[in-house]
């Protein structure tokens, strides 16, 4: 259990595939893990009123968001039998095609990892003090709205 330490969450810019690979590789020494579930959010090139999204620029109320994510982590560890759990979110500009959210859960049996991952993604998107600004190719913008 590593649920008691408040962990680094925010990463400047997009989350690289090599960062994700390292996170996966670190778990090969945890021999009680049987299943990992990973969610990756990727910035889409949406087209809104004829304007193409070029990037999303993320800002956070960082001290509050870190505490919120800490609470959500604790809740997930109480709710599901997890071995470990990692959450990373981008800050600043992430171009289309870049990864902006990385949620990674591990457990002995697959159900806990899978369900916890979905639970975390839903709560993070709804409850955490982060905002995305969709920057269009023509330099205009609009503030992103989550469903």
């Amino acid at each position: 259990m590593e649920s008691k330490v408040k962990k680094k969450v925010f990463i400047e810019g997009s989350i690289s595939s090599s960062f994700i690979a390292e996170a996966i590789a670190k778990h090969s020494s945890k021999k009680d893990i049987g299943a990992h579930s990973i969610f990756l959010g990727q910035v889409r090139q949406d087209c809104i009123d004829g304007n193409q999204v070029a990037a999303i620029e993320y800002t956070a109320y960082q001290s509050m968001a870190e505490e919120q994510i800490h609470q959500i982590r604790e809740a997930a560890f109480e709710k599901y039998p997890l071995t470990c759990l990692h959450i990373y979110h981008s800050l600043g500009r992430v171009d289309t095609g870049g990864i902006c959210l990385f949620v990674f859960t591990s457990s002995k049996h697959r159900q806990a990892a899978t369900e916890a991952c979905t639970y975390l993604v839903e709560r993070i998107k709804k409850e955490v003090a982060v905002w995305g600004k969709e920057i269009f190719e023509n330099e205009t913008y609009q503030w992103k709205q989550n469903d």
Binding site: G41, A60, C100, W131, N146
Partner: protein
Amino acid sequence: MQITLLVFGVLNDILPPQTMVLPAGADTHQLQQLLNERYPDLEKYQYVLAKNQQLIHQHQPINEGDEIALLPPFSGG
């Protein structure tokens, strides 16, 4: 008394973050009224308040040095 006002998301288009001086004994309701007078467009937007990094669920007294944040709906991920 002096407080820090933080502004996030779309509300950055309406008002800047700022240090504000409020009358002693002011609460969050009075703060909102004051902001609505100075920035009439603010009333068009949905947002919640946080006091010292905690969401508040009903209006609360404000103290010297508090950090008040205006939070429009979150849109991370």
